[in-house]
């Protein structure tokens, strides 16, 4: 029995006896992901709700002042013997001065080898006392108590855009992650040994995959991405074999497909984008997986794709067993600013006029917040949450913003807010059922957007424009009432360059919200008022803070690029 196996066995006996009951298969029982988030962190958002709200309370408004460093772990990526690849952590960290086993897989050649300092820009799973961390082409298993490395898996890439990886999914003892050259790779979580890999999107067609797979029952739901005007889709794979179960396209692909009348032609629709960059939320009662879709393409030159461009920039609700869409709600009709609506939606069990109501909320990159009935897709509330957001002519009857054509890229330049990155982006929001507040990092700023491609066909990809950065505006942590979309409070970050919160957010039953600020601090905010209660300056946060408990101790875990920091109360 290897050291890793011993640790896993010990951890599962001590910490998580519930995991052992699952069909005698051990590991993570997919049914347990339905439970509210507490000790473990078994899926992208912690649980399926997308709330990133933990029931743990050891770290709370009273104790947070005593929060101190538990461990630091520096990750090394790349081929086992690459320059820098064999380095241990500092001072006995990471690999304890030596190398843990590196398992190598992949279809690429050494020519495209990636190495050096990775950047963690996704969620870290914590199951049975083990952390599973990802960056493009790399997966690490670390001990959750002290961060030491158990194994690392390295994928030899064929190429593709290496911008980030949002994390792994888990089913019993198996892990799933995506690679920039579009493989879904399954590993044995106990050893890091590869089980299989399957191609989930065409590398020739220039897809690249950054998404975190989400396991729902016997489905591994995998999204992908593309910048070359290719159609977006979500796929479901068999967790045992990797066999494709279904494939849902986010744009019309053949005559008669719904939404085709919102495109000038089938050819435009089939090149219309709508990528599935970021995982969605899952409602076990309706069996609907609700995911936000990416922007239509070409991104900035909409002249060749007049119309609303369904089902891009929308919430779509997909039945996990059939892959069929139950409803959609478009949050950005005919986007022309590369503002995808891929942000993680948040399921909220609301109380409206004294009656329970099943809702879903999302704060979109375009600066608008939406609450929608998650059974029917009907609009409940729409409100602007970007302070300087200026690209709409108003709100449609159904709550969707009406884009102002004058705020598309124009030859003489149009002054647009927010900037290209949007008011928010992939870093996830959080919601506390206790405060009823939806927390989001709000970023503001202005660009002058010049159209350089006047051809009626439009350009391709993200080309056809130049961008002039002309001004910043203060950014803030904003707490939104999900019933109205209005801000209950707003904690504005100081300074003059618009620096705002980095990374995503975490809410806890300790009445805290954790997130990065614009100054390189990890901050614990009072969830009811936004007042900072604790901070530490560790550098710009690159993912969303998370929390877990092992052996009765609660940890707060966060990444600053290649370095993980865990904090606890002693």
């Amino acid at each position: 029995m290897s050291k890793t196996q011993r640790i896993l066995l010990a951890a599962s006996l001590l910490v998580a006896p519930a995991f052992l009951s699952a069909q005698n298969q051990g590991g993570l029982d997919p049914a347990s992901i339905v439970k509210p988030l507490a000790d473990s962190w078994p899926t992208y958002s912690g649980d399926y709700s997308g709330r990133r709200y933990s029931a743990l309370t050891q770290i709370n408004q009273t104790t947070v002042k005593g929060l101190s460093l538990a461990w630091v772990g520096k990750l090394t990526a790349g081929p086992p013997n690459a320059p820098g690849g064999g380095r241990g952590g500092f001072g006995g960290f990471g690999r304890g001065g030596g190398s843990s086993q590196v398992i190598v897989g992949g279809e690429g050649s050494d020519e495209f080898a990636t190495g050096g300092a990775p950047s963690v820009k996704g969620s870290i799973l914590q199951v049975g006392g083990v952390l599973y961390v990802t960056a493009p082409d790399n997966v690490w298993a670390l001990d959750a108590i002290d961060g030491h490395e158990l194994w690392r898996y390295y994928w030899k890439t064929r190429g593709g855009t290496h911008i980030g990886n949002r994390g792994a999914g888990m089913w019993h003892n198996y892990l799933y992650f995506e690679t920039p050259d579009n493989y879904l790779v399954s590993l044995d979580a106990r050893t890091g040994k590869e089980r299989w890999h399957v191609e989930i999107a065409s590398f020739n067609e220039q897809y690249f995959s950054t998404a975190a797979p989400v396991v729902v029952g016997d489905h591994v739901l995998a999204g992908t991405g593309n910048d070359l005007d290719m159609p977006g889709f979500l796929e479901s794979f068999d967790p045992e074999t990797g066999k494709l179960q279904w494939k849902f396209y986010t744009v019309p692909m053949k005559p008669g497909d719904p939404g085709l009348d919102t495109w000038p032609s089938l050819e435009a629709a089939r090149h219309g984008g709508g990528q599935t960059w970021v995982p969605g939320a899952y409602d076990p009662e309706t069996k609907l997986y609700i995911i936000g879709t990416g922007n239509p393409t070409p991104g900035y030159t909409g002249q060749g794709r007049k119309g609303d461009n369904l089902f891009t920039c929308a919430l779509v609700a997909i039945n996990v067993d059939t892959g069929k869409m139950a409803w959609y709600y478009q949050t950005s009709p005919h986007d022309t600013h590369d503002w995808d609506s891929a942000q993680t939606p948040v399921l909220i069990d609301g109380v409206i006029d004294g009656k329970p109501r099943k809702l879903v909320s999302t704060a979109s990159r375009n600066g608008y917040f939406f609450t929608v009935d998650r059974v029917t897709g009907e609009s409940f509330a729409t409100a602007k949450f970007g302070t300087t957001t200026n690209w709409t002519k108003g709100i449609r009857k159904n709550g969707s913003p009406e884009p102002d054509p004058g705020k598309e890229a124009t030859v003489p330049g149009s002054l647009v807010s927010p900037t290209e990155g949007g008011v928010t982006n992939w870093p996830p929001p959080a919601f506390s059922p206790e405060t009823g507040l939806f927390y989001i990092q709000e970023r503001n700023g202005f660009n002058l957007l010049y159209l350089t491609e006047t051809d009626p066909r439009g350009s391709m990809g993200l080309a056809g424009k130049t961008v002039g950065q002309v001004g910043s505006w203060p950014s803030a942590l904003r707490a939104i009432d999900y019933k109205t979309g209005k801000a209950v409070w707003r904690h504005e970050f100081p300074g003059v360059n618009g620096a705002g919160g980095s990374g995503g957010l975490l809410a806890t039953a300790g009445k805290l919200v954790f997130g990065g600020d614009g100054g390189g601090n990890l901050v614990a905010f009072d969830a009811t008022s936004g007042t900072p209660l604790w901070h530490t300056r560790i550098g710009s946060i690159s993912n969303a803070p998370q929390t877990y408990a092992v052996d009765g101790r609660q940890y707060v875990l966060v990444a600053v690029n290649d370095t993980l920091y865990a904090f606890g109360i002693y």
């Binding site: 460093l69 461990w71 630091v72 990526a77 500092f90 001072g91 006995g92 080898a113 990636t114 050096g116 990775p118 950047s119 082409d137 064929r158 190429g159 290496h162 911008i163 980030g164 990886n165 020739n204 220039q206 593309n226 070359l228 005007d229 290719m230 053949k254 005559p255 960059w277 590369d338 030859v411 003489p412 330049g413 002054l415 990155g421 949007g422 982006n425 002058l448 010049y450 006047t454 391709m460 993200l462 080309a463 950065q469 002309v470 001004g471 505006w473 100081p494 003059v496 360059n497 618009g498 980095s502 600020d517 614009g518 100054g519 390189g520 601090n521 300056r537 710009s540 690159s542 370095t563």
Partner: protein, 314 residues
């Protein structure tokens, strides 16, 4: 249990990270990070060092055919394909599809996918029909080689290969209206015969001129160092910190967050103060404040009118 060396080393890490610079204040706005699709010029942050060819796709990685074959293919394309698929391969007036984003083309290696389609034509429901063309296979292969050679020149992020330079006239505003707007909104800080004298000569490209004046980064106005006519440094963001003792410390603002403010005094000495709520008192002076306050107020017409006026300040 954790070895004690763990905590000691961690303390070193935390301590050293205090000196990590997070970004200077008073600079032009930082590009918003965390975009799903980053600007091309930004090196990708994920995954670390870039290996050769990393970040590229097969269309750019592939070995190209012999130049003579590509040239022959280009000629054949011009004769047989150009009318429908366009001189730039991105689709033409007769409804041919954009070949540079065609799944058939992207998946084709050496004509094996393209040859049967050219030979048999295509009639897919909902798509423009393509007639069969009786061309010898070696000619289609040459055409395929040409198409692949064009696709290989594609820009990043799905952009097409660079075409001939396009010069667009962005000066469409009304100069007289711009002069009026300037008098009402800008003249309290700027003067056409003072700091803006010869402005259009300094910025011969109207796009650069417009982006620069809207952003306020052209270093004129009150508080700017240097005189009109030459390159001048933008005015600095300054800060005054008033301690509970009444001591007042002033200087260039280096950085500020909710917990710390750092400045550099006139003699070059940096100082950092802890912040706790409103103590000490911090007063920031941003020379661009007036520009920023105008950003939510401008109409695009205001901007274009002022630009039309400013280009006359030769």
């Amino acid at each position: 249990m954790r070895p004690s060396v763990t905590l000691a080393a961690a303390a070193v890490v935390l301590f050293s990270s205090i000196y990590v610079s997070v970004g200077a204040e008073g600079q032009p706005p930082v590009p918003t990070p965390a975009a799903q699709t980053p600007p091309v010029q930004t090196p990708p942050a994920g995954g670390g060092r870039q290996g050769p060819g990393r970040g590229t796709f097969p269309a750019q990685q592939r070995a190209l055919a012999d130049p003579a074959v590509i040239e022959r293919g280009g000629t054949l394309y011009g004769i047989n394909c150009r009318l429908c698929h366009g001189p730039d391969l991105r689709g033409g007036d007769l409804g041919g599809v954009n070949l540079l984003r065609s799944a058939l083309v992207l998946n084709d290696q050496d004509g094996e996918g393209i040859i049967p389609v050219v030979a048999q034509g295509r009639n897919n429901p909902g798509m423009p029909p393509m007639p069969a063309l009786p061309l010898p296979a070696d000619q289609v292969k040459a055409i395929a080689a040409y198409i692949h050679s064009v696709a290989a020149k594609a820009a990043g992020q799905g952009g097409p290969p660079p075409g001939p330079p396009v010069v667009l006239n962005i000066v469409v505003g009304d100069a007289a209206a711009g002069e009026k707007y300037f008098a009402a909104n800008c003249a309290s800080c700027h003067s056409p015969s003072g700091d803006l004298k010869g402005l259009a000569a300094r910025y011969s490209d109207p796009v650069q001129l417009q982006t620069t004046w809207v952003g306020g980064t052209f270093a004129g106005g009150r508080g700017a160092r240097g005189g009109p006519g030459g390159p001048v440094a933008p005015a600095q963001v300054t800060v005054a910190v008033t301690l509970p003792t009444g001591e007042r410390v002033e200087g260039r603002l280096d950085r500020i967050d909710d917990f710390v403010v750092t400045l550099t005094q006139a003699d070059g000495t940096p100082r950092t103060f802890r912040r706790s709520g409103s103590v000490p008192q911090v007063q920031i002076t941003d020379p661009l404040a007036a520009h920023k306050q105008l950003l939510p107020k401008y109409t695009d017409k205001d901007i274009h009118d002022v630009t039309a006026y400013l280009v006359t300040l030769k």
